[in-house]
């Protein structure tokens, strides 16, 4: 059975060109780049080149502003804990309620350590509540603002450049961090241009066709940030530990490849995603497209099916060779469904039935065809088993219709957003 991989926001296939680029650094050029002999120059030069490549594609002014890390989680932890430790006089942090756990849980840890943290909410489309964001800023008191560039679950893009400008106009002493794990290689990032107010930026290799185990952190020159890993002098004393040469090379090559064909890839992937969205919406009733009213990443489609539960969908898809993911409680290890979808006020009749398809430049028309062929049946199978569904009428039972009305009304009340047109 052919595998259809539609979980690229979780991880991606390593590009063959990337595998090729990293290969020499295992058995041939295995030398420690910190060593003094001639042979070690190769690995050292390869790291320098990767650093320059990453700096160039992010619009960083200096290659030394790029630190290589083991993953985006390490980058986020370094950025947040690092600036907290370097700036003990400020004790207030602003972030969002929909961050990846690598930021959200760090924020909660800061609360336990005695800092004040505001978690800003979103509207029903997943757009940041900019009024609450502005109100949360405290000139002279706020230490750090951390807002993700795009959401991993819904693909909704936050206006990070503008938020960073507002922050710096409020108080240049407030630091701005963004988790760009889902956007590096997918969206243009220019830290010398519109993103010039961003001080710290995290990214990950394995979301852009490099292997797992490598990430990067951009730290603008002059930003006060203490290291997380203490030890040797690597990465200019800001991240100790022998460099993971092959994987750093891989990250540089992967970003280069992604940026070379970014425009064309984005257009093609958007066309695939839009067709998937259109065809599934036409075939499945009582379906929500999460984040539909907001600017979204071209590759992400997050759906919520009323009256079914997500985990049962994943297992059926898996049996048909389709890889996707869900924000349902049962897939998360917690009993609560996705914090992102709850923050958006997805109705409780649908929040357990979410599914995310995320494409990549390797996705094909055949992949979309296969999902369109299989997924409507998967939903129908579970609705047939559901106590809320009338199979004959193919719609919710009357008492479930009442639940639906109640759920939609609850959302309307809880998210009476002032920015709605």
């Amino acid at each position: 059975m052919r595998l259809v991989y539609a979980d690229n926001n979780a991880t991606t296939q390593v590009a063959p060109e990337v595998v090729e680029a990293m290969a020499p650094f295992f058995a041939e050029q295995y030398f420690n780049p910190s060593s003094m002999y001639e042979a070690a120059r190769g690995p050292a030069a390869a790291i320098a080149q990767a650093r320059a490549t990453v700096a160039r594609h992010l619009g960083a002014a200096h290659p030394a502003e790029i630190l290589f890390t083991s993953c985006a989680t390490e980058s986020n932890n370094t950025a947040i804990f690092g600036v907290v430790r370097a700036n003990p006089s400020r004790r207030h942090v602003v972030t969002t309620a929909v961050e990846h756990p690598a930021v959200l849980e760090v924020g909660k840890e800061l609360v336990r350590q005695g800092l004040e943290v505001d978690f800003i909410g979103v509207d029903r489309h997943g757009r940041l509540d900019t009024t609450a964001f502005v109100k949360a800023l405290r000139p002279g008191e706020t230490l750090l603002v951390s807002v993700m560039h795009a959401n991993n679950e819904t693909g909704v893009i936050f206006p990070v450049a503008e938020l960073a400008r507002i922050v710096k106009e409020t108080d240049p002493g407030i630091l701005f961090h963004t988790d760009a794990t889902q956007t590096a290689g997918k969206l243009p990032i220019d830290l010398s241009g519109d993103m010039r107010h961003v001080d710290l930026l995290s990214l990950s290799g394995h979301k852009l066709h490099a292997p797992k185990g490598v990430g990067a952190l951009y730290i603008r020159r002059g930003t006060p940030c203490r290291p997380l890993l203490i030890g040797g002098h690597q990465e200019a004393n800001r991240r100790a530990g022998t460099e993971n040469v092959a994987f750093i090379v891989a990250l540089g090559r992967a970003l280069e490849l992604a940026m070379a064909t970014r425009d064309a890839d984005e257009r093609r992937v958007a066309a695939l995603r839009d067709r998937l969205e259109r065809e599934l919406s036409a075939r499945i009733s009582f379906l929500e497209v999460n984040g539909q009213g907001a600017p979204r990443l071209a590759n992400t489609l997050n759906l919520a099916c009323h009256f079914v539960e997500g985990e049962g969908m994943l297992y059926q898809l898996s049996a048909a060779g389709i890889c996707a993911s869900s924000g349902s409680a049962c897939t998360s290890g917690s009993l609560e469904p996705s914090h992102v979808l709850r923050a958006m006020g997805v109705p409780f009749t649908a929040v357990h039935g979410s599914i995310r398809f995320s494409l990549s430049r390797y996705s094909t028309d055949e992949d979309v065809d296969r999902i369109v062929e299989v997924f409507p049946t998967v939903v129908a199978n579970l609705r047939r088993l559901s106590p809320y569904w009338d199979v004959v009428a193919d719609r919710p039972r009357p008492d479930a219709e009442a639940l639906l009305t109640q759920a939609v009304e609850e959302r309307r009340r809880s998210l009476a957003s002032p920015h709605q047109p």
């Binding site: 106009e169 519109d194 079914v308 049962g312 349902s328 106590p387």
Partner: protein, 326 residues
């Protein structure tokens, strides 16, 4: 997260979703027993019905001959529902005998469940119990006279401990004892209580208190968080010689008199998002919101008007329009 389900669990789930012969999906019309447990908001719900072969003279000798379920829930919830129906039909039980089926029997039938998924088997046992009570009422069987405690349902309409999953103190106390739950995690895995907002864990009368009262105190609790300092509230009271309220009124008045008439000619408007000392945050709305020069319009026009007429130290910060995009 990939759960380590047994082969049996996966098989029962796949058979059920494909409606294989011998599976038990469905609802019996005019059932002899009807029971429900869970709700869609909690993430799983089970409607359980059974039909009996009626004994001509002694209803307690009725035999369950058919059991059906409709389940909203995950893989293991659906498999546990299958297991429940299969256990009952295979055992050819009377409803009273069926009451002896426990969540452990269901889990065993499935060759085990991950501990986080135990609540799926508990849900089956609860729905079964509700259905047997329903049968007893329909058939005029006095369960109390047979030594079966039917009062617990009423008792359990007590104080709500876990608001997320709607679980009461009497219910939780009973389950803590019945299932020998020793920690908050045990409770959550078995009956889901405390698995969502978690605020009932250490609240007064919360899960830890119920555990302590049942098994004796085990561990010290974390100290309460200190209240936020008062200084900040006091600091906000002085504002260019004006109170924050007077200052905001004055800013609004200048906008009304000077700025808004000009913007409204173009079908637009400006709103104040926030004021912090001398920083005034404005958002252009209406026709002006999509304007490319919106930020600069605010910065130039609004800031100058406010500097001239309110306070020369004022700085205006433009906040994006409806899409939040600059």
């Amino acid at each position: 997260m990939t759960w380590n389900y047994s082969k049996k669990t996966m098989q029962l789930f796949m058979d059920a979703v494909h409606g294989k012969p011998g599976t038990h999906m469905g609802e019996i019309a005019n059932p002899d027993g009807f029971g429900e447990h869970g709700s869609i908001a909690c993430g799983d719900a089970l409607r359980f019905t059974f039909r009996v072969e009626r004994h001509p003279t002694d209803p307690t000798q009725d035999r369950i001959v058919e059991a059906r379920y409709l389940t909203f829930g995950c893989t293991s919830a659906i498999a546990a529902s299958e297991a429940l129906c299969a256990l009952i039909e295979e055992g050819h039980y009377t409803p009273i005998e069926a009451l002896k089926i426990t969540n452990k029997d269901i889990a065993d039938y499935l060759d085990g469940l991950p501990k986080e998924k135990l609540h799926c088997s508990v849900m089956g046992a609860e729905a079964l119990e509700a259905a047997v009570f329903n049968w007893a009422i329909k058939r005029g069987v006095d369960l109390a006279a047979l030594g079966i405690d039917i009062t617990r349902k009423e008792q359990e309409e007590g104080r709500l401990v876990c608001k997320c999953f709607g679980l009461t103190e009497p219910y939780l106390r009973r389950k803590i004892k019945e299932l020998e739950l020793r920690t908050i995690a045990d409770i959550t895995h078995a009956v889901k209580a405390g698995g969502a907002c978690m605020s009932c864990h250490h609240a007064p009368g919360g899960l830890q208190d119920l555990l302590d009262e049942t098994w004796g105190r085990q561990a010290p609790r974390p100290a309460a968080q200190p209240a936020p300092p008062l200084e900040r509230f006091v600091a906000g009271l002085v504002h260019n010689g004006l109170s924050p309220f007077q200052f905001a009124k004055k800013v609004e008045r200048v906008l009304d008199e000077v700025v808004r008439p000009q913007l409204r000619q173009d079908g637009g408007d400006v709103e104040i998002v926030d004021i912090k000392d001398n920083l005034v945050y404005c958002r252009l709305v209406g026709a002006c919101a999509g304007c490319v020069g919106a930020s600069r319009t605010i910065k130039m026009m609004v800031e100058q008007a406010l500097k001239d007429r309110v306070d020369e130290r004022i700085r205006v910060i433009a906040v994006g329009g409806q899409e939040g995009v600059a």
